[in-house]
């Protein structure tokens, strides 16, 4: 079963909360990244099963980053995190190959539901 996760979010606060939720549900957070550059660098070393990707990052367009990640690591399943009110971005992300999306603000249940849904 796929269990390792990389969290990509520029907010340390968000990364900590996600890490807390995932740890409770038995996922292993194998890497974290605060920027697109860091995410790509970590991707090559950690090969996570799942990537939780915040679509708004300080240094990159989330959709471009999504594409680069898919081509660099096609086996990783990417879940896009984004705030309410961005249906177009979510549509685009799913078209590009994201496996699911989580809307912010999220509940711990929602996060685990989406991630566990990936494994089926």
């Amino acid at each position: 079963m796929s269990r390792t996760v990389m969290i990509v979010d520029d907010s340390l606060f968000m990364r900590k909360i996600l890490r807390g939720i995932l740890a409770e549900k038995g996922f292993i957070v194998s890497a974290e990244a605060a920027s697109g550059i860091e995410a790509m660098r970590n991707l090559h070393t950690s090969h996570p099963d799942i990537i939780l990707l915040d679509i708004i990052l300080p240094d990159s367009n989330g959709l471009d980053l999504l594409e680069s990640m898919i081509s660099a690591c096609p086996n990783s399943k990417i879940v896009v995190c984004s705030a309410i009110g961005q249906p177009l971005v979510i549509r685009k992300a799913l078209d590009l190959g994201a496996k699911a999306f989580i809307q912010k603000p999220f509940t711990p249940e929602k996060v685990t539901e989406v991630l566990e849904g990936l494994e089926e």
Binding site: D10, F13, M14, A34, F106
Partner: protein
């Protein structure tokens, strides 16, 4: 899920978003077409909203959401970020900061946000004067140059952690104690001639030096740490005064000890206030004087060996040494005779004398803060030097020269009566031997002619209220020539005992009231040594 463990992180991250937010608004007023900055502004509001929603802080969510909404209109080019909207966003940021404070204090107090929410929701850029909105879309050229300078925001990383200043202070204190004990140990080992101890002592010394360097490195922070609020401050003051001010900061990346940064922020604020309030003329006066309509204030930070210079310069009206002198005479701070011998440099320093500025000369704005005398005190408490340059009609420069690190300084140790006094080496220009017969008196002041310059001489004994020497001493008198705010003054002492690296401790009340003393240290053999405050000593 219990969210309380995440509250501290929320508070610190929210604060960082909010401070960058205000900084960007002020910058955008100067370059309204900086689309990269608008995007970043939007992103801060957006991130804050997401975080607050996760924590369940509804008031924060609502305000951040409305700000984000209005900003998306700016982003789409619907209207530009002009002062009325900037004011509203800044007010929003202030309210959010207060809400974050309440969250941190876990207080039950309530912040009334209804008025702000209504203003944000109802904001109509076209109801206020928004000239040529559609005719002048964001400029592409500006965008390119701005995004180049608009580097990635520094993000939190696992490579760094937050430490309380208190913990760092403890580390410095412990390291200082260790160094003191090491000096004592070295003394004992030398006295006992214990050869087998020399090698371990040598290693201990080297390790302690390395420890001290690392501890100090851990305390260093870039000037940007305190600089974020200055543009906003200058902007608000200028708006209130109806003046137009271009404000620039250079050298934000230069690092200083965080203790120094914390202490120097208020003095900088005061000098900036004075510059906007008194230094710069009104637009009309400027035009009459053939100057550009808007004034310029620059804050420059630069490194000079183991010192940092913080320079605040304005292109305003400058100061007239003659007027300063006559005012000081009027207030009986100096005698007319003293005024005659004063250089312009010395005359500018008069504004730092307590009692020089009075309520009649201070406006509402600067009057409330610390006076220049307090600025002066603060700089000296940090073993720094404040100098002032000015030119009538051209502007003024305030230069604060500060050590990069606190606490450990190189000092010259002198003997005066029963006391040993340390003079910070950075103020001592040189040591000289004065012939007693060369010291002349004129209107109650002693001076010598040294290299054709008239230099005041002050006896350290007299300055410290010690009895004068019996007069049987030799004809030569050792003295330290010190730079007191741009003027050279010779301090005569009983004996110069040597140079030493000392760990300075601030004195607490009631010892802090000791005249002419800014701190103390304990020597290797356990004696107490006082650190001279040469400005106080020079005032006599």
């Amino acid at each position: 899920m219990d969210m309380s463990p995440y509250r501290d992180l929320f508070v610190s991250e929210a604060r960082s978003h909010l401070s960058l937010f205000s900084e960007l608004i002020v910058r955008l007023e100067d370059i309204p077409g900086d689309t990269a900055a608008i995007d970043e502004l939007f992103r801060h509001a957006h991130s804050l909203k997401g975080m607050a929603a996760t924590m369940g802080y509804e008031q924060v969510v609502e305000i951040a959401h409305l700000m984000e909404d209005q900003l998306s209109r700016v982003r789409s080019g619907e209207f530009r970020l002009l002062p009325p909207f900037a004011d509203l966003l800044l007010a929003g940021g202030d309210t959010l900061s207060r809400l974050v404070d309440l969250i941190e204090s876990t207080s039950d107090a309530v912040e009334d946000t209804a008025g702000l929410i209504e203003r944000l929701a109802a904001f109509d850029p076209f109801a206020e004067a928004q000239p040529q909105v559609h005719a002048d879309p964001p400029q592409e050229s500006v965008e390119t140059s701005a995004s180049a300078s608009h580097q990635f925001r520094q993000t939190d990383s696992f490579k760094s952690i937050r430490i309380k200043t208190e913990t760092l202070d403890h580390l410095v204190n412990i390291t200082g104690e260790l160094i003191t004990i090491q000096h004592r140990l070295a003394g004992s080992i030398r006295a006992a001639d214990a050869a087998e101890c020399r090698e371990p002592l040598h290693q201990l010394t080297a390790l302690l030096r390395a420890l001290r360097d690392e501890v100090f490195k851990a305390r260093m922070l870039p000037f940007a740490f305190i600089a974020e609020r200055f543009p906003r401050l200058v902007r608000d003051l200028a708006r209130r005064q109806g003046k137009e001010v271009h404000f620039q900061i250079e050298g934000k990346e230069i690092e200083l000890d965080r203790g120094i940064l914390e202490e120097i922020a208020e003095p900088i604020v005061h000098i900036l206030r004075n510059a906007v309030d008194h230094g710069l003329e009104t637009a009309d006066e400027r035009v009459m004087a053939g100057k550009p309509f808007g004034g310029t204030i620059t804050l420059t930070v630069r490194r000079d060996k183991d010192h940092v210079e913080i320079i605040i310069a304005d292109d305003g009206r400058g100061m007239d040494p003659g007027i300063l002198k006559s005012k000081a005479i009027e207030k009986r701070l100096i005698t007319p005779e003293q005024a005659v011998h004063m250089t312009p440099q010395e005359a500018y320093q008069l504004i730092c004398v307590p009692g020089f500025s009075t309520a009649a000369t201070i406006t509402d704005i600067s009057g409330r803060g610390v006076g220049m005398d307090a600025v002066h005190e603060a700089v000296h408490a940090l073993a720094g030097v404040l100098s002032i340059q000015s030119q009538c009609g051209q502007g003024s420069r305030f230069i604060m020269r500060l050590p990069i690190k606190v606490s450990i300084i190189h000092a010259l140790i002198v003997q005066s009566g029963p006391f040993e006094i340390a003079f910070p080496l950075n103020v001592v220009t040189r040591t000289v031997e004065l012939k007693r017969s060369d010291i002349r008196e004129e209107s109650g002041q002693s001076f010598v002619i040294l290299e054709k310059t008239r230099m005041p001489v002050r006896s350290l004994r007299l300055a410290l209220n010690l009895p004068a020497t019996s007069g049987t001493e030799g004809i030569m008198l050792p003295a330290l020539v010190c730079d007191v705010g741009g003027t050279l003054v010779a301090f005569s002492v009983d004996r110069i005992s040597g140079q030493q690296e000392i760990f300075v401790r601030p004195l607490r009340t009631p010892l802090s009231h000791l005249y002419g003393i800014s701190g103390a240290t304990i020597t290797g053999d356990g004696r107490v040594l006082f650190v001279a405050d040469i400005n106080a000593l020079n005032r006599g």
